[in-house]
Symmetry: C2
C-alpha cells in the first residue's frame, strides 16, 4: 500500500499512525510503517484514506436480509409470531443462499470482515459466504420440537453441518453450536450443545435475556433468573457467546465474568424492538466480560452497518446513564474490533492492524464530506465512531484478498444478486 493518511492500529497502545502503510504477505500483515515497495508488491494508493481493522459483527442472521423492512413498528411477539415465523416456515435453501449473498454484499460494502451467524439452511449460507470471501462463524439454530424425533433431527442437522464445514476446508469458515435460547431449548438440548462444543472446540452461540417477557416467563415457570438457571444446570462456560444479555442483574453479570461468558451486544435491535432497557455493558466490563457488538438480523435493525451500530452504542449508553463519559469512542471501537475477536476466541489473529495478524482490513474514503475535517491523531477514532458510516468504506480486504476496491465489488455480482433476491422473494412472500 502507498501511504494511508491514517492507520488506526488498535494495537495495545492504540496507536494511530500518520502517512504509513502496511505490507501484506500470504494473507497476513507483514510490515507496518513508512515502507518502500518491493518489486513484487502490488501497490495500492491510499492517499486520503484511513485504514482500520475489519469490523467484527458478533451477532446476526444474514439471510434475514430478505425480510428487511417487511414488518416494522411491532411488538416483538407479534412481529415474530404473525410476520417472521410464517415467512421462515416457507424458507428453502435457495432463498437463504440469496439472502446470505445480499447480506454479504452489504457487509462487504460497509466494512465488516468477520461475523457470527445463526440461522436455517446453513449449508447454503456457507456457500454464499464462501463465494463472498468473508470470515464467519456459522451455527444452525436449534429449537426443541414438540416431539422427540423433531428435536433429534435438529441435533442431527447440527452435526451434519459440522461435517459439512470440515469438508469445505475453508479456513475462513468456522462452526458453532446454536441452541436458540433458554426459552426454546430445554436443559437436555442445552447440555448437548455444551458437550458438542467442548468436544469440537467450538463456540456456543445463543440468545440470552433479550426481553423482559423472557425473564418474566422464566419466573412464572419457577426457574428464577435466566442466567442463574443456566449456571445451575452447568451450561455457562467460556465457550458461550450470549447475544443480547439485556435483562441481567448485577450478580448475573458477575456470574458471566466468573464463568468466562462472552456477550454480543445488539443495541439497535434492542431499541427497535423495544426490548426494554439497555444491556449493562459498563458492569460487564467491570466483571471482565468480553463484549462485542452485533447488528442482529436485518429484519430488526434494518441493516448490517457496524458503523451505525457503533454510533448507536455510544449514544444509547450516554443517554440511559445521563453521562457522556460512560462510553467513549475508543471503547466502542474496541468492542467492534478487538473485543469482537475475543468473543470468538480469535484475538491473537484478528481485531487489530499488527504484524502477524490476518490481513482483514478496511479503508475509508476521507474525501467524503462527513469525514472532513480530521483534526488530529487523537480525534481519528472519534471520527470513526460518530461521523463515519459504512458507505464511507471504499475498500474491504479479508485474509489479504480484495473483496471490494474503490467501492467496486471484486467477488460478488451486485446486479445478479439483486435479481436473484427478487425471485426468491417472489416465491417467499405471498403477493
Amino acid at each position: 500500500m502507498k501511504d494511508c493518511d491514517w492507520i488506526v492500529t488498535q494495537d495495545p497502545q492504540r496507536q494511530v499512525l500518520r502517512d504509513s502503510s502496511v505490507r501484506i504477505t500470504e494473507g497476513r500483515i507483514d510490515e507496518i510503517g513508512k515502507l518502500q515497495p518491493n518489486a513484487k508488491d502490488n501497490v495500492f494508493d491510499c492517499k486520503r484514506k484511513a485504514l482500520i481493522p475489519g469490523l467484527i459483527n458478533t451477532h446476526t442472521h444474514l439471510s434475514m436480509s430478505l425480510f428487511r423492512g417487511y414488518a416494522d413498528d411491532l411488538e416483538l411477539r407479534e412481529w415474530l409470531e404473525k410476520k417472521i415465523w410464517p415467512l421462515e416456515a416457507r424458507l428453502d435453501g435457495e432463498m437463504c443462499y440469496h439472502g446470505a449473498l445480499l447480506g454479504s454484499l452489504e457487509m462487504t460494502r460497509t466494512g465488516t470482515t468477520c461475523f457470527v451467524d445463526m440461522y436455517f439452511h446453513m449449508e447454503d449460507v456457507a456457500r454464499a459466504v464462501g463465494e463472498a470471501g468473508l470470515r464467519a462463524t456459522l451455527s444452525p439454530g436449534m429449537i426443541d420440537k414438540p416431539d422427540k424425533s423433531g428435536t433429534d433431527l435438529e441435533r442431527k442437522n447440527t452435526l451434519k453441518f459440522l461435517e459439512h464445514i470440515r469438508r469445505l476446508r475453508n479456513p475462513l469458515l468456522s462452526f458453532a453450536v446454536g441452541p436458540h435460547a433458554p426459552y426454546t431449548c430445554g436443559e437436555e438440548t442445552l447440555l448437548w450443545a455444551r458437550d458438542v462444543a467442548e468436544k469440537e472446540d467450538a463456540l456456543v452461540n445463543i440468545h440470552i435475556a433479550e426481553t423482559r417477557r423472557e425473564q418474566a416467563q422464566f419466573e412464572k415457570d419457577g426457574k428464577g433468573r435466566v442466567a442463574d438457571y443456566l449456571d445451575k444446570i452447568g451450561f455457562l462456560n467460556n465457550r458461550v457467546l450470549a447475544a443480547h444479555s439485556v435483562w441481567l442483574t448485577k450478580s448475573e453479570v458477575k456470574l458471566f465474568g466468573k464463568k468466562g461468558v462472552r456477550v454480543a451486544h445488539c443495541p439497535v435491535s434492542n431499541m427497535k424492538l423495544a426490548s426494554g432497557g439497555t444491556a449493562p455493558v459498563p458492569e460487564m466490563w467491570e466483571a471482565g466480560v468480553p463484549v462485542g457488538l452485533g447488528t442482529d438480523g436485518p429484519a430488526s435493525n434494518n441493516g448490517l452497518d457496524m458503523f451505525d451500530t457503533m454510533k448507536m452504542t455510544a449514544l444509547v449508553h450516554k443517554n440511559s446513564r445521563w453521562d457522556p463519559t460512560i462510553m467513549n469512542a475508543q471503547r466502542v471501537l474496541d468492542m467492534a474490533t478487538l473485543d469482537g475477536a475475543r468473543c470468538i476466541g480469535r484475538e491473537k489473529e484478528l481485531g487489530s492492524v499488527e504484524i502477524g495478524k490476518r490481513a482483514d482490513l478496511v479503508l475509508l474514503d476521507l474525501r467524503d464530506p462527513n469525514l472532513i475535517p480530521i483534526h488530529r491523531k487523537e480525534t481519528v477514532v472519534s471520527d470513526l465512531v460518530y461521523s463515519a458510516n459504512g458507505q464511507n468504506v471504499d475498500t474491504t480486504i479479508v485474509d489479504g484478498k480484495l473483496l471490494m476496491i474503490n467501492r467496486k465489488f471484486q467477488k460478488l455480482d451486485q446486479e445478479k444478486i439483486a435479481e436473484e433476491v427478487g425471485s426468491s422473494i417472489a416465491r417467499l412472500v405471498p403477493q
Copy 2:
C-alpha cells in the same frame, strides 16, 4: 423525469406511487403520475430510484462543521467552556464561510434541501448557502453581554443581517431572530426579539430546556420552570421555534400547544451530550405542537445526515417508552418533511411531492445493497427510516435546480472546499 420506481409523496393520503414521475416547471411541481415527456422537457432517467420530498433540518449550526470531532465524550458544560467557546472566540467570517460550505456539501450529499441555522458571521454563512443553492432560514445568534453596549451591538448585528437578507433578494433565504436561550438572554432581549419577529413576520429561533442543568439553574434563580417563565413574560407565540425542549413538564407541553410554539427535536445531539431524558414528543403531538427534526450542529452529532436522525428518533422513543409502536416510520418521515415545513410556516410550499409545491426533491439509489429488497408500497417509508442513510441519496434538487446528480455536485467544488476548510482550521485551531 423518466419513471421512478417509487414516489413517496407525503400528500394528505400519504400515497406512495409506483413507476411514476414528476414534471417540474419554473421550480415548481407541475404534474405527477405516468407522464409523457414534452419536446422541451429535460428528462432524467429515474429507474431503480425512489423520489422523496427534500428533508428539512429544523435546527443546526452549519459552520460548526469545522469542529466536527474536535471534542467528544465530554460533559456539555466542559465541552462548551473548555473546547467550543474558546474556538468560537477565534472564528472569523472567512472561517464561518468555509464551515458553511462544508456543511452545505454534506446536506446536499445526504438529501437535506432546507434548514434552520443559528450562528455567528451569518452574512458569510448566507454567502455559502447562496452558492450551494440550498433553502435556509438564517438567524444570527444573540447573547446578552455583561455591558449594555455589547448587548446593543448584538441587536444591531441582527438588524444589519435582516437588511442584508433583504438586499440579497434570494427567494431561498429567509431571516429569523435568534435569541440564543432563556439562560443567555434576559427578558429585555427576549421581548425585543419577539417584537422584531412580529414586525418582520419572521421566526424566533431559540434553544429552550435543553438540559436539566438549565432547568435547575432557573429554579435556583427563583424563575421556576423555563417554559412557564417564557409565557409569563409574554414571549411564547406561534413564531417561536424552540430547539430541544427536552425538559418540559406535561403542562408546559400543553402551554406550547396553546401558544402555537413549534419544536425542533434533536435526539442525536441530546443523546450524545447526555442532556438526559428524551423530549416528550408523543405528548407534544397530543397537544398539537408541530415537531420537526434537527441534527443540531455537527460538533454534537457529528454530522448533518437527516436519515441518521430519523432512525435515531424512532429508536430512542421506542427504547425510552418500552413501546415499539410509540413512533412509527410514517410519523418520523412526517417530522422530517411536512412537520419541518410547518415549523417554519412553509407547509403550503414545502414538505411534500404535490402539484404546486416547490420542487425540493431527493432521489435515492435503490441499487445500494442496504435498500434491497423493497417488499411493497406499504414498506417503502419504513425502508427510508430504518434502512436508508444519507449516502444512498444520489440526486438533490432545490427549487427545481440540480445541486447534485448521480452523486456529482453541480454547484459546489468538493476538492476546493476540503482545501479551504483545511486552511481555515490551520488558522482556527492552535496546533
